[in-house]
Amino acid sequence: MKIGVFVCHCGENIGRTVNCPEVSKACASFPGVVHSEDYKYMCSDPGQNLIKQAIREKHLDAVVVGSCSPHMHEKTFRKACASAGINSYMVEIANLREHCSWIHEDINQATKKAIDLMRFAVERVKFNQPLETIKVPVTKRSLVIGGGISGIQAALDIANAGFEVVLVEKEPSIGGHMSQLSETFPTLDCSQCILTPRMVEVYQHPKIKLLSYSEVEHVEGFIGNFKVTIRRKAKSVKEELCTGCGLCAEKCPIKKKALSEFDEGLSNRPAIYVPFPQAVPNVPVIDRSVCTYFKTGKCEMCKKVCGREAIDFTQQDTFVTEDVGSIIVATGYKLYSIDKKPEDSIYKGYGEYGYGKFKNVINGLQFERIASASGPTSGEMLRPSDKTVPKKIVFIQCVGSRDESKGFSYCSKICCMYTAKHAMLYKHKVHDGEAYVFYMDIRSGGKNYEEFVRRAIEEDHVNYIRGRVSRIYEEDGKLIVKGEDTIAGLPVVIEADLVVLATAMIAQQEAPKLAQTLNISYDKYGYFQEAHPKLRPVETNTGGVFLAGACHSPRDIPESVAMGSAAAAKSLVLFGADMLEREPIIAKVDATTCAGCFYCQKVCAYNAIEKKEIRDRLGNLQKVVAFVNSGLCQGCGTCNATCPSKSIELIGFKDDQIFAQINAFAEV
């Protein structure tokens, strides 16, 4: 076997701590090596040409590149070698950067180690075999989980490209948090006005199948070939019959027992309800926890008034299965609640801000509802306790955010902007009112964002005070807000009528459960984890599952929309080909020695191990052995390590390849 060795300096990254020419020289003497050279940037065009040239001139069979991590440039070098005529899998990377130069200081020792790493790779590549990529078919349909603005955007983009979309929303209506907002920064355009046409477009789109009041129950399969089971929660209303006339909700005798989720608890709703008048679909659901019929068996008022006979008290949850090729997760966020939390909760609530017991201490979404024309006050600026106009309003930023002690260490990113917007909206409605904002830093990175904040300060004369509020308490119907102006170094006490807390954006409570269903990772806060923080921001570690919006991290509307489109584009990339190509690095079972113990099945994280019957010529069952589904297998090697009879091998990481490396190490 003729092996070519190429040592990259990676500019100074490797070259500074590893003497690359010396490594190249040492490699030339390894048995089997017929060519060895070093170059400043092996991944660059001239660098790749050196490799191609050597392959052609010296008729190489295999190539070893000493460079950065294979995560970075393995593909680059494989492609270069393939174009020069050798199989991509006859290329091995020795990681001289992350595993050597970056972590060592002494040039002599690092060089010695680099030579060792190169030798291991050379010994290994001798056992490499040419492999072919695996081809799997693609179902050109997409599942979008979550019907907020991000999910809506993703669904519309994919549907407009001509592919079918199944959009699953757990609430009775799509629209998400954006539908609750009054106006949006930095342009102050009405949120509903820009959102509702999109919602209707989703509903009317021939390529979009909208499943509202539904949740993803189970997912199996793999990239291009997912099978998703969806629970359709019982609405108690026949969707196909209902015309959305609203008479049932109007006549429902339960008016005050349930708090409106849409109005963030600031108003009441009947037991049969649509979340808001512009809901899509405009079909009510019965909240069985408060409905008189479900409690006592009497009433049936809604059924009596419904001219279409659409009410069905006997409806049960049903399950539907959908075949899709890609999944977009757009499940959004929740707001941190300052209420006292149970002992085992990861966040504690704010005692100094009253644990949520003061009626006039509200959160940002509640303020949005008060400011919204469709809200409980019809857009009039009235405080919740006595419905009077607050003359002094205090906004407090970073509640739960940037707070290691009671909340989370991260910055929720959007609060600086929406607080500026809130203060502005307040000043536009209450001209003689005074608005105070307590902030720590103003983070207004974004197009026209800083200008927007300056406008709040300079044109609307909102008083910005740098400092965190220590305590809020009630005295004579006023909220006493105790803060400190850290710039002047002076204490500040404000007798406020209304206090708005910019509480942290947090992950949905069910996010970890969904992550486990989808087999994707999530961080310690419950946010879903992207595959690479910079270069693969919408992909997850599971092929074919993409992220959009605030389920990934706190995001504002423009970013959520952009991410929705990005996730849609990633799905469309999948749908661009009829067959998917994937790495042949998967496990393979030797059926002759497999004893059928199925330990491998127990440890497989990807459900890739199946059962296969072995029959003789007469059709008699001989034995049942393990079989690897090549579409599901991610090549992690866990089964390989577990198999007691050594009947599973990981192609590309076979025992003889690994032993060759270890033996080379033992020779040192």
């Binding site: 290691e404 002690s405 400092g467 965190r468 509020v469 220590s470 305590r471 170094g489 500040v492």
Partner: protein
């Protein structure tokens, strides 16, 4: 100002408190809730800032450290979980160790006079403290007009109150003094 090695101060402070002042992000929540804030010229967060900037003399001479009542309101509300009460205690301790006097000497002298009574009698002996403080501060006429009414109400007894276990208290002072050294 004594010949003070700056590095030494910070190291000692971190050793005593097991926390780095860099942890503080200067939000001012401590100062906003501090009950003695109105009497201090420099708010508590500013004393931390002095240390962050390496202005250790400013921190040690700040009257704020002697005004701190150690109520720990700041500690319990700090979003960064920085124990400011512990920090203040350590700065006081170091100020004594380095022999740095407060810019407003009286507060520190009052503090010392108070602790001396505790050491001797186990609880505050008002008259003894008063005399001790006046000797230290040389300000003999401050609040002197309050003396008759205080005395007539029985708030100033001529003899110290007795407590049990004076020896143990003396021992506490002795041992904590040794730890400091």
């Amino acid at each position: 100002m004594k010949n003070l090695k700056a590095k030494d101060f910070k190291q000692k402070l971190i050793a005593i408190t097991s926390q780095d002042p860099a942890q503080c992000y200067q939000c001012g929540k401590c100062s906003a809730g501090c009950p003695v804030r109105d009497f201090a010229e420099a708010p508590p967060n500013r004393v931390v800032r002095y240390v962050q900037l390496g202005l250790y003399d400013k921190a040690m001479t700040s009257p704020t450290i002697w005004l701190c009542a150690g109520c720990q309101t700041c500690t319990s509300r700090c979003p960064q979980e920085f124990d400011l009460a512990k920090f203040m205690d350590a700065v006081r301790e170091l100020a004594i160790a380095y022999g740095v006097k407060s810019a407003d000497k009286k507060t520190q002298e009052f503090h010392e006079a108070f602790l001396k009574q505790i050491e001797n009698f186990g609880r505050a002996y008002e008259l003894g403290m008063l005399i001790d403080y006046k000797l230290k501060s040389k300000d003999f006429f401050q609040d002197v007009d309050l003396a008759p009414s205080t005395f007539s109400k029985g708030k100033l007894s001529l003899l110290p109150h007795n407590v049990k276990g004076k020896q143990q208290i003396k021992k506490i002072f002795k041992e904590s003094g040794e730890v400091k050294k």
